[in-house]
């Protein structure tokens, strides 16, 4: 097979895969390690089917709980009560699909996992490349569908936070409340800074001047959008931390620090 890419005939015969002298591999490596760790943790937790609820906290991995849920955790009924596996598996497709098709995460995993490319001006190892023109990657164009779902998920998580402010005997603020609150704020920031959201609120318009309100919203989302990757990372951490905290409470490893 003829050489392709930077070694293709006609191009300057330089030979090296890259001449970059900086630590270009650091960023994709970090992404790879952190994302892998999250995937391992999230898979374990999603299949665990336990330690996801401690009154009044419900782990975001299991919210809304629609399957065979532990007592008190199902705020929206259990329409999938007969589902034999973990209840998390019923709903995780939505946040997972949202993140998998997210424009930022796509960049991150294409670079860190698929090495396509690992970094700018560093040759990728693949001999063929078709991008997002065919299945399954063409499905990434459905990002906006997942965004609609993600808004619903964020609303439910907000509800969970409101619930975490109360107990049977009245008001309550514990460390868990703050963890869930922080998480939901970051989830909202991530969801609202989404590129599809930016498009939907106003980006699709050709005449901002005729839609002043949508233009204002677009301006606002655009500002958030510049930090979309930051929110993607922070909300990834916060969701794992929220789940971890609730798991540790539920299995009795730690006990709640209560402020009020």
């Amino acid at each position: 097979m003829a050489a392709t890419g930077v070694d293709a005939p006609g191009r300057a015969a330089i030979g090296a895969r890259t001449l970059r002298t900086d630590r270009w591999w650091l960023s994709p490596l970090t992404t790879f390690v952190v994302f892998s760790a999250f995937v391992v943790y999230a898979t374990w937790r999603a299949f665990a089917d336990k330690d996801y609820f401690v009154e009044p906290y419900l782990s975001p991995f299991y919210s809304p709980c629609l399957g065979d849920c532990v007592k008190g955790s199902a705020d929206f009924g259990t329409p999938f009560g007969g589902f034999p596996l973990s209840a998390a598996l019923i709903i995780l497709i939505f946040p997972l699909g949202f993140r998998m098709s997210c424009y930022y995460y796509r960049k991150a995993y294409y670079r860190a996992f698929w090495l396509s490319p690992p970094a700018c001006a560093v040759a990728e190892p693949h001999t063929k490349y078709t991008g997002e023109t065919r299945l399954p990657l063409i499905l990434n164009n459905l990002h906006r569908w997942f965004w609609y779902a993600a808004v619903v998920v964020a609303l439910i998580l907000t509800w969970d936070v409101l619930l975490s402010f109360q107990e049977a005997d009245g008001g309550h603020v514990g460390l868990g409340t703050l963890v869930l609150l922080t998480n939901v704020v970051l989830i909202w920031l991530y969801t609202l800074s989404c590129h599809s959201c930016r498009h939907a609120v106003g980006g699709r318009l050709r005449h901002f001047s005729k839609h002043p309100v949508r233009y204002r919203m677009w301006t606002w989302v655009s500002r958030l959008n510049t930090r979309h990757s930051l929110y993607a990372w922070l909300s990834l951490f916060s969701v794992a931390i929220a789940d971890l905290y609730i798991m540790l409470l539920a299995n009795g490893t730690i006990s709640e620090a209560r402020f009020f």
Binding site: T4, G5, V6, A8, G10, R11, A12, A13, I14, A16, T18, L19, R20, T21, D22, Y103, R106, K107, Y110, R111, S116, P117, C120, A121, A123, E124, H126, K128, Y129, T130, G131, E132, T133, L137, I138, N141, L142, H143, R144, W145, H195, S196, R198, H199, G203, R204, L205, R206, H207, F208, S209, K210, Y215, N225, T226
Partner: protein, 258 residues
Amino acid sequence: MTYQLKMRVWRGDDSGGSLQDFAVEVSEGEVVLDAIHRLQATQAGDLAVRWNCKAGKCGSCSAEVNGKPRLMCMTRLSDFDPAETITVTPMRTFPVIRDLVTDVSFNYEKARELPGVELGPRDADGKRRMMQVDVERGQEFRKCIECFLCQNTCHVVRDHEENKPAFAGPRFFLRYAELDMHPLDTHDRRALAQDAAGIGMCNITKCCTEVCPENIKITDNAIIPMKERVADRKFDPLVWLGAKIGIRHKDDEGRTEM
């Protein structure tokens, strides 16, 4: 303050070449292009290099400095350690002509494939009216100086020669986005962007944005919005349904699909 700068410069043509070592005197405040010019004037009179304005405005002196796509006139020597050897090669995505000069005709061919702007008639007084907020997005894209560093760094063609016929590249997605956001243009190029320009090949890994010397947010402000606009047409159930029952997005009125 002057010092001897160690440089490795790729010299050769399409039949082959190599990195050659030079030492050249440089002084405070100089850029890589100054060093290359001094090489030309004192040691290698026939060293081929393309440049024009030397002010970051024309986008001619694109090359790769220590493996990174850069404009040589905007790469200051003070960003490097004086002891460091600076490696300069031609752009690696385009066929080399000689030394640091490459054949960038790929980009001019792609420009020809893109249908230009087509506005409707002027207002009654012979002028046109467009509001500043409506032209601002397009103005960002029109800052493009056509240095083609984004085209050079894009792995879709850099690493896959065979993709060149089907892929227009970031510079032209920028142009598609500019025209699609033009308040008075009468063409709808979304189908073209997907089919002829191959916007689906882009996996938004953002290297075009990273190397843009004009700091145009190519990915966030042009490519992704353009992908979303293509999705409006093809992948959005609500838009599809609306079109079926005769509801058209008012903002697109007066445009015909190319």
